[in-house]
Amino acid sequence: MWKFIIRRLIITFPQLIVLSVLIFLMAQAMPGDALTGQVDPNVSPAIKEQLREKLGLNDPWHIKYADWVGGVVQGDFGDSFRFKMPVTDLLEQRIINSFWLAVVTLIFTYIIAVPLGLLSGRYNDTILDSSITGYTYIGFATPLFIFALIMLWIFGYQLGWFPTSGSVSPGLEPGSLEYIISKFNHLLLPAISMALIQTVSTVQYLRSEIVDTKQKEFIVTARAKGASEARVYNKHILRNSLLPIAAFFGYEITMLITGTIFVEQIFGYPGMGQLFLESINLRDYSVVNAIVLLFGSAAILGALLSDIILSIIDPRIRIK
């Protein structure tokens, strides 16, 4: 078991290195840099050139890469050109917001997915099942950013149940109970919007697992032994069907990260996703690099986590 985990961990290192090189090269290949957008007659190209020199934007890529990696290893991602502050401080501000958004979304995702998947699988081919499946198809087909806008319009503006932008009401004392409640209140609507769309794959997955498991011989055996229907479902079927879902968990985290990019933009929720989009548009490379590296690491670690969970619950698939 430990051997597997360690072996799996060792593989992630080259993955991370390849990822970092790729990120760096791709960022360099984007046309323009942080100063290209400053098309201002008062700021002459000569001044911009001096600034580029000062900021090291003119060095060849391998030198920049070496500088960057040297910093990253020590936890220093450089300074953001746009925010004029260390990227680590900037990320720290944002990552907390994104983290809580992701956690709440994840909880909602499972709260929705597990009962729906169970019902749908248990009563498959009934009207209930068709409507749940219908919902999942619609969910698959709906772009998250449109759905989020509609949710915002209905629940935020028409009904006024939720705040419509930001991560907290202006003017509250950080740390106070009011502040925490306000924070939670602000992330409810984005989290629900995201969960409603994100959950559909899990519902589908769970449903087909259950339908599949229902036919298995050990279920027939359990029924033959006279186990009650409830016992068959809760003990035998659910347990076995949840295995792959658990394994999904790691990937789910990756999905969440990509999802938050749009949701944060729409809800004006200052998290990593919003920062990421803005930084790309404004060519704030140090921030883009840091975020892609974080996102990439999260994806790699998510996959690792999934593999580990899977290997714990299903010894057959451990890598030899």
């Binding site: 323009g32 700021v43 925010f83 004029k84 794959s201």
Partner: protein, 622 residues
């Protein structure tokens, strides 16, 4: 099973990628932080107005610039201010260091410029400081800035001459990485100071606690047109700090101070700021108890106004105006001519750097007489061939309209409406082309050049917004009607950064391009159309142009009448020579809840936020 899950993820991944692509293309062009005089992509739509004409068209003339007062202002009250932006504010809350416009919107409530301006952006004596200009015998000029006695920082310290001098020292320092150097580079002794050869700036002289003399090398009329750096920095707070550390310090980001009508109370980074009234404000205590500012995404600003969540915005997206103006009965729309214009430029030469090793350094424009667009008749015909008023009506509901000269009506003193600029006349375009020898010799419906060779014009235009593509296509079709074959470079629109990279590099594929400029607050055109201006993207230069631009920036032009005359001549020259032609002037809309009083969007209002009040505690609802 394993396989099934893989393909499912592949599908999901592709979906995600699709969304990423869709989203990226959606807002890649949105604002790139224009702080006054920056370039502006000129692609997002704009609209606005109060009483729609029957055809659904609006005109900027129908808008007021001052808010109508719906009643007496109450004592106190809190104003909810919406900062409309699809990016957060960076939080660099200091005039010396900020770069993005969102930061300026946050700054303006708690810190102000010492000098006030009029509607032509010329300085007046009504600000927190008064000024006097003396022309010295050696050709230098000295500006004396006298700060009023009752102007104090929020912490109670008086605003002193040394605070203003300190700002010059910070900007002039070699450690400074911001973009404000152009304000101060002409101060006597600045070069030596910047190079580290002098410890002080010889052109600055602190006369007494409240009076600073600043001496400039040349008497440039731009100085009096908002060209003096007049934002002090509290020296007692920053003096012991390294300049490189200032932008990230708490004194800039967390608890900044100024001497404006409101004090910063709390800042939630990137999303909101709360302010309280500064009772000690030099023009008197504000009417409001406080202001709450928050960032509002442009997609939801109309809803936020309707529900009263925000009372006032810094700018209302004009493309949404026709859809919401009837619904937003609780809101008054104000409008003015925006300080920007869209134009089409013709590539007439190249940028030749003085030092070939350093292509982005100093250099000058060298016109190429053999350039494809070198014939002014061709350029004039292309201007006649496009109907910009229709473009404004079709795409912007009349909230943009055909431009005539390169000095826009936002400068009422300088804009010359008597200049006869070409306007849409297809017959005239055809006539000019026929006369100039652009004839269709091979009968394919496309004109050849006078030498009888095929003429294909490469057109560069930026992507972004819903209107970029249809407008570019319209122009291409309009020119096709005059028999000219114009094609998009690479067959598609360009992303913002590549567009400027290629236009700046004088890419051979680009013969004409569509761009936009923010005009800033000074009519001096040297930075955009001068011979040594790298931003002179059309690479046009002529002796007459050099003379007029030099005259406009000469000491004689300190006389406004003389300067007006010079720029009238220049506007005429540009209509004759047509290195570029303005396509659209724009309007800028601001919306305010009915309860807001004494608000205005005129430059001469000078951000007098202490006068703004509300007529009732709660926002007016529809």
């Amino acid at each position: 099973m394993k396989k099934a899950s893989f393909s499912k993820w592949l599908l999901a991944l592709m979906l995600v990628l699709l969304l990423v692509l869709a989203a990226c293309s959606g807002d890649s062009d949105e604002d790139t932080g224009d702080s006054g005089a920056t370039e502006d992509e000129g692609t997002e739509a704009e609209t606005e107005e109060e009483d729609p004409a029957e055809d659904g068209l609006y005109s900027i003339d129908d808008f007021e610039v001052d808010k109508m007062n719906a009643g007496e202002a109450i004592e106190g009250g809190t104003l909810n201010y919406g900062l409309v932006s699809d990016t957060v504010f960076e939080g660099i809350l200091n005039r010396v260091f900020y770069e993005g416009n969102p930061d300026f919107e946050v700054l303006k409530f708690f810190d102000e410029d010492l000098l006030a301006i009029d509607n032509n952006f010329n300085y007046t004596q009504d600000g927190a400081a008064q000024w006097e200009l003396t022309e010295n015998e050696d050709g230098t000029v000295t500006v004396t800035i006298s700060i009023r006695d009752n102007v104090n920082w929020h912490d109670g310290e008086p605003v002193k001459a040394e605070d203003l001098a300190f700002a010059y020292e910070v900007i002039g320092s070699p450690e400074y990485t911001g973009l404000r150097s152009y304000y101060i580079e002409d101060v006597v002794g600045m070069t030596e100071y910047n190079a580290g050869e002098a410890d002080t700036i010889s052109g600055l002289e602190i006369e007494d606690e409240k009076t600073l003399n600043i001496t400039f090398n040349t008497a440039n009329p731009s100085l009096l047109a908002s060209g003096i750096w007049a934002s002090p920095m509290p020296k007692h707070i920053f003096q012991d700090m390294d300049i490189a550390d200032m932008p990230e310090s708490d004194e800039v980001r967390v608890n900044p101070i100024g001497f404006g009508p409101f004090k910063v109370e709390t800042i939630t980074p990137g999303e909101s700021v709360t302010y309280t009234a500064n009772e000690d404000y030099w023009q008197g205590a504000p009417k409001l108890d406080g202001i709450t500012l928050k960032v509002v995404d442009p997609t939801v600003v109309a809803q936020a106004l309707e529900t009263g969540e925000i009372d006032l915005v810094d700018s209302f997206p004009t493309d949404q105006f026709p859809d919401v103006e009837e619904k937003l009965t609780n809101v008054e729309f104000l409008g003015k001519i925006d300080e920007a214009y869209t134009y089409i430029g013709f590539k007439l030469g190249n940028w030749v750097p003085n030092d070939p090793e350093n292509p982005e350094g100093a250099g000058e424009v060298v016109p190429d007489p053999d350039a494809k667009m070198a014939d002014v008749n061709l350029r004039r015909a292309m201007w006649y061939a496009v109907d910009n008023d229709s473009v404004g009506e079709q795409f912007y509901n009349g909230l943009r309209w055909a431009g005539t000269t390169l000095i826009i009506p936002a400068f009422p003193d300088y804009y010359d409406d008597t200049v006869e600029a070409p306007s849409y006349d297809l017959d005239e375009a055809n006539r000019i082309l026929d006369e100039a020898g652009y004839e269709d010799v091979d009968g394919d419906g496309i004109r050849e050049n006078p030498e009888g060779e095929e003429l294909t014009i490469g057109f560069a235009s930026m992507s972004g917004g819903d209107t970029a593509e249809p407008i570019a296509n319209y122009y291409i079709q309009a020119w096709a009607k005059a028999g000219l074959k114009v094609e998009l470079v690479d067959g598609r629109l360009m992303e913002f950064n590549s567009f400027y990279d290629r236009v700046e590099a004088d890419d051979d594929a680009i013969d004409i391009y569509q761009g936009a400029w923010g005009t800033g607050t000074d009519v001096d055109q040297n930075g955009l159309y001068g011979r040594t201006a790298a931003y002179n993207y059309s690479r046009y230069a002529s002796e007459e142009n050099d003379e007029l631009l030099a005259a406009g920036a000469s000491p004689e032009s300190m006389d406004i009448e003389y300067r007006k005359d010079i720029y009238k001549q220049w506007q005429e020259l540009m209509v004759e020579e047509i290195p570029v032609f303005p396509t659209l002037y724009r309007s800028k809309l601001v919306s305010a809840n009915e309860r807001v009083t004494d608000y205005s969007i005129q430059p001469s209002w000078n951000e007098k936020w202490h006068e703004v009040g509300v007529t009732q505690e709660e926002p007016v609802l529809p």
